[in-house]
Symmetry: C2
Subunit: 190 residues, 2 copies
């Protein structure tokens, strides 16, 4: 998606010798909601015929983009939570996720009452790199018996293995910007 | 706001002898984006003449509603983060917040580059009870030199002290549903 690639080139900041892309100014600290709306329209163009009933994402930085995408589809968002809080009781689906950013494992969970075999689910997230978070969400969808239609990703680091692994497993993954390589000298898109 | 009060009566679940209101089915686990859009329109009716340049909220459950509100205002969202991650470097505003839900203190932070004395800020959050999170956000706005226009809250537990304390401090707080009392027998709105 040209609009997103242009924005990444303009405002993205590459750190730590090309391993980290910061998009804090428009995607995951400050959020440009107009850009998100354009991304939502593109995801709807790609997945609008699939009878999606629910958008599933993971807290925290996926929530904003997922809500705006959900408006384009006219369906609710469900966001997986990262730890058990007082405000959730009852029965939940859980899955373990390894965070390569933080070097730790964490548990994600979704209340069972919000996913059923009648649902057709689109996963949405801001980034795809190693694919650990998406695998956790896939696991939860499979536990629920819902149909997993695919994943809509804003930015895929295509030089990391997550996207290929997920596609090889049969998941339809649509990434609006796929980065082939990046260094402190710049970014190459696929 | 009648629509929100009706939804709370219909789908809210009161737990722990009237101290906890769960709205997980439409506001902070699953999110009804159409309801959020109606709330965004109401916040725009209340604050639309104030020249707002930025919506500030706090992760995680404020992000969804804030993004949809921000669309109504045509401005970006900024969400305060709860811990320092690899993906933020540089200079940040920070404030300490006490979580009454979890019984712990945590730090919230906003990158300095995204708030300036030229900004006019509306705080948005899903809940107001003790007001600790909002006070942290107010502190950050004051550090930045931006104008703090007010706070738009979905659900205020008006039987807890946060709203009154914030109003007494001079903050304009607009809550779309204000709960006077709740118990396992039901809810009374102000």
């Amino acid at each position: 998606m040209q609009l997103l690639e242009d924005r990444i080139r303009k405002d993205g900041k590459i750190r730590e010798h090309g391993s980290v892309l910061k998009v804090d100014s428009f995607l995951n600290h400050q959020i440009d909601v107009d850009l998100c709306n354009e991304m939502g329209k593109e995801f709807f163009r790609l997945f609008g015929g699939e009878g999606i009933t629910k958008i599933l994402t993971i807290e925290a930085s996926g929530i904003g983009i997922a809500c705006i995408v959900a408006q384009c589809f006219g369906v609710p968002v469900l966001f997986a939570k990262k730890s058990k809080t007082k405000n959730i009781d009852g029965s939940v689906y859980t899955s373990q996720v390894h965070s390569f950013t933080h070097g730790t494992d964490y548990e994600v969970m979704v209340a069972k009452e919000f996913l059923s075999p009648n649902d057709r689910v689109l996963l949405v997230d801001d980034f795809l790199a190693n694919g650990a978070a998406l695998q956790g969400l896939m696991d939860i969808v499979h536990q629920s018996g819902a149909d997993l239609v695919g994943a809509g990703i804003c930015i895929e680091k295509a030089f990391q293995p997550g996207g290929d692994l997920l596609r090889q497993s049969g998941l339809r993954v649509e990434s609006l910007a796929r980065i082939a390589a990046m260094s402190e000298n710049g970014i190459t898109f696929c």
